[in-house]
């Protein structure tokens, strides 16, 4: 009997009425992962401990809707006693000695961590192909990328291995793979979820979020993950709210803006057409949709390159081969430990970004590049705020095209930034953004729409997303409904 293809409410009822046990779900998830092994969605499985936890839960009361449900966690999020590699050789054998706050919250709900998902090395990349452990594959077509950097989380959800996964998004790394794999992925407002225990890439941009097969389950998981954390100064102190509360409401009178930049020449026709079709549906149902100009969006990629590479060079300075992780052998002195460990331990993309970042922050360059980028970033944020004075939400495509071939060349250092050109502005402004599937191209590869909200207005985004989901009623299971 299969249970993980059902909705969360139904599974919860089955658990509550003791018709099934958490161990049934855990075993089913591992069976699914085993049969989808060729997707390479996981770096480490947590089998023994997950089974043990599931058995322990049999004696506990099913006290919340997430109780006993399996979840996959991206491998840049610290899990106590469970290997956390960041997709890198340098952390290949790193076992954290504490849980990230998000992991503590998952455990408080008695969810069961099934494994750690594959990803671009240190979340740097857009196709998960920079992973030291090989690229994950797209369940819709195994010759295609599943995007990145949260590619493993996207693949395991798209393949219907389980209901829940966590990703992280510094410049689109939740939304972009969600778009390529036809799932729902949300990057919450910066500060919504504590970053304590997330291995830092670009601290002023990083944010974790839920990746799920549908909108409701996404909102339910977000409910469990948010909150102020004394261990993360940048976590926001907000009143508790139910992110599902507007789901199912109509969208009559909703004001929606479409930035011209997001529908510009860089976007392929097939994606643009699908977004326009969806816009027509929204208008037919009483939403007001306007095309608007948002200043500075065309510069977002440059800002991202400066800020993300700069912050990465500083954050990744901690990997010195001394305190944890890999250390190069046959070194003469401590300077050589640093040089050799980092030279051998980091992959190509990561080294490239650290070097550029080091240059950008060195001496006077910090003023010429980084400070200037922060200035323009501030103006971009103000431009977004202006839009939200007149509109409820912003929409557009998530990606310029559908997923490309795993074998496409990787030698252009600009490629990974170009892939994220439509999703990067959201991180620049700290806004919440999500992907909702809206259709397929002629090869039946998923196309995604991006919904962008004002700060801390995720509930409104879920309202629109759930409306689109219901109206389109797409079959989003690769190979058809199971």
């Amino acid at each position: 009997m299969k249970y993980l293809n059902k909705g969360i409410s139904e599974i919860h009822e089955l658990l509550k009425s003791k018709r099934i046990k958490p161990i049934d779900l855990v075993e089913e998830a591992f069976d699914n992962i085993e049969s989808n092994k060729d997707l390479n969605a996981y770096i480490t499985l947590n089998k023994e401990s997950a089974i043990q936890q599931a058995k322990e839960l049999e004696n506990k009361e099913v006290d919340n809707i997430l109780f006993g449900l399996p979840i996959a966690v991206k491998d840049n999020i610290c899990t106590n006693g469970l290997r956390t590699t960041c997709g890198s050789h340098i952390l290949e054998n790193f076992i954290p000695i504490y849980d990230a706050t998000i992991v503590e919250k998952i455990k408080e709900k008695n969810m069961i961590i099934i494994g750690k998902t594959n990803m671009d090395e240190f979340a740097m990349g857009s196709s998960s192909r920079t992973s030291y452990f090989g690229a994950p594959k797209n369940p819709w077509n195994k010759e295609k990328i599943c995007g990145g950097s949260s590619g493993g989380s996207a693949a395991t959800i798209a393949a219907r291995d389980l209901l829940f996964a966590i990703g992280s998004d510094t410049g689109g790394s939740i939304r972009q793979p969600a778009s390529y794999t036809g799932i729902v992925g949300l990057k919450p407002t910066y500060g919504r979820i504590s970053r304590y225990g997330l291995v830092a890439f670009a601290s002023s941009l990083d944010q974790m979020g839920p990746m799920t097969k549908n909108v409701y389950e996404n909102a339910v998981l977000l409910n469990a993950l948010v909150g102020k954390d004394p261990k993360d100064l940048t976590s926001a102190n907000k009143e508790e709210e139910d992110f599902t509360r507007f789901i199912g409401q109509d969208i009559k009178g909703m004001k929606i803006a479409v930035p011209n930049f997001l529908m510009g020449d860089i976007v392929t026709d097939v994606v643009k057409e699908k977004i326009k079709d969806t816009i027509k549906i929204l208008e037919k149902n009483g939403a007001m949709v306007d095309y608007v100009d948002v200043k500075y969006l065309e510069h977002a990629m440059t800002l991202y390159q400066i800020i993300a590479m700069g912050e990465a060079s500083s954050n990744l300075a901690r990997f010195d081969g001394i305190r944890y992780g890999f250390q190069a052998e046959n070194v003469k002195n401590i300077e050589d430990v640093y040089l050799e460990t980092r030279g051998q331990g980091f992959g190509e993309e990561v080294k490239r970004r650290i070097m550029v970042g080091s240059y950008l922050l060195s001496g006077e360059n910090a003023k010429i590049y980084y400070n200037k980028a922060l200035s323009i970033r501030d103006d971009m944020r103000k431009e977004f705020k202006k839009v939200f004075e007149n509109y409820d939400l912003i929409i557009g495509p998530t990606t310029v095209s559908t997923a490309y071939d795993l074998t496409d060349p990787m030698d252009d250092p600009r490629k990974s930034f170009m892939d994220d050109v439509l999703v990067i502005p959201v991180n620049m402004a700290g806004l919440p953004g999500m992907n909702i599937p809206v259709g397929f191209d002629k090869n039946h590869m998923p196309i995604g729409m991006q919904i962008i909200g004002n700060s801390f207005e995720e509930a409104k985004m879920y309202q629109l997303a759930s409306f689109i989901e219901k109206e389109l009623n797409l079959d989003l299971t690769p190979g058809g409904e199971r």
Binding site: S204, L233, R323, V356, S375, D378
Partner: protein, 102 residues
């Protein structure tokens, strides 16, 4: 404009980043880094913005937490996470001066 960084320029950024490169990597990165460094120059094309900088992306008044004693990581576990350790110490090679084969 040159299509790649000079060897000296590239080795300078590699040194800033504390990364040892192989000969093959040096050649590849001379070209690739040039492209990225051209990209970031585009920031000079942006006009009209004000001087205010964005340090924090959220509107909350963030306060530092109180400096109070709390639960700390177990020092034994922390030490054991290091690739080389002995007792309560992390072992490192020679820090000052050269020592062949140490």
């Amino acid at each position: 404009m040159e299509e790649k960084l000079s060897r000296e320029e590239l080795l300078h950024v590699a040194d800033l980043a504390r990364i040892k490169l192989t000969e093959e990597e040096i050649e590849k990165y001379q070209v690739q880094l040039k492209k990225l460094l051209e990209d970031v120059e585009k920031i000079n094309e942006v006009k009209g913005y004000d001087d205010e900088i964005l340090i924090a992306c959220w509107d909350d008044n963030t306060k530092l937490r109180k400096d109070e004693e709390g639960v700390m990581l177990d020092p034994k576990q922390v030490i054991e996470n290091a690739p080389h350790h002995a007792g309560n110490y992390i072992e490192v090679p020679v820090v000052i001066g050269e020592s062949e084969g140490a």
